[in-house]
Symmetry: C2
Subunit: 140 residues, 2 copies
């Protein structure tokens, strides 16, 4: 009973569950992130900075797979709130360096609580999570 339109059924597509699952998980972060008044994208941006403290917009974009169209306004917002500073590199004026402030670093403690809380909502075994992780990185 196959026909050439079967590939057009959502249930036969890998792209759709990927797209839907990603949004569900981001949504899962919302209640916890909103207490810190952070969005998911702001949160993962800060994750890079909590680990590296000072990075260029380009490096941030590479790590997050986001471009300047997304990052520029987001970073301006984080600067306005005092969590980061934005300053041009002295050795190359094209490069904008993003650096975490004390205030930005201070968010780390509250943020460190979140992954465990969200993770417990998704009932994957550690083995399943590891498998999923590997397959996703294969796509990226």
């Amino acid at each position: 009973m196959d026909n050439k339109y079967d590939v057009l059924k959502l249930e036969n597509q890998l792209c759709f569950p990927l797209y839907a699952a990603a949004r569900e998980v981001v949504k899962g972060y919302h209640p916890y992130l909103s207490k810190l008044d952070l969005t998911y994208t702001q949160y993962i941006t800060l994750m890079v900075l909590w680990e590296h403290r000072k990075v260029s917009v380009k490096e941030l974009g590479e790590r997050l797979h986001l471009d300047s169209g997304t990052l520029t306004p987001l970073l301006k917002g984080l600067e306005k709130r005092g969590y980061i500073t934005r300053r041009r590199s002295e050795s190359d004026e094209r490069v904008l360096l993003i650096e975490l402030t004390e205030e930005g670093d201070a968010l780390k403690d509250a943020a460190a609580e979140i992954p465990a809380k969200v993770g417990s909502c998704f009932k994957l075994t550690p083995e399943e999570a590891a498998t999923l992780y590997k397959l996703l990185y294969k796509i990226i």
Copy 2:
């Protein structure tokens, strides 16, 4: 060498590769969809309609995991382009029924070519794809 901030590293998170992979795959559709002047969200909306022909906004939202805030403007756009009609149900005026037009249905042939083209960009074996599929639906 573990510390309590290790959970805040992108590489230790499942949410991030999920989020990034989803966007990569959607981006993989872009070159093919833009030839049909469709976005990814419009495409999956049409996928539901190609299979079911006539559904309410509510059912569309449940199948796609999207709400009226996303669907309302999207559907108005598809209506304007003549691919669907929007009409209130006669038995319940709250319900808006979306129905595929001939023009909308005609897109199906070109669209049916796309999944194979995109799929070949992602080098997962059929077994890996099946595993990924199952894990993603577990999250959804």
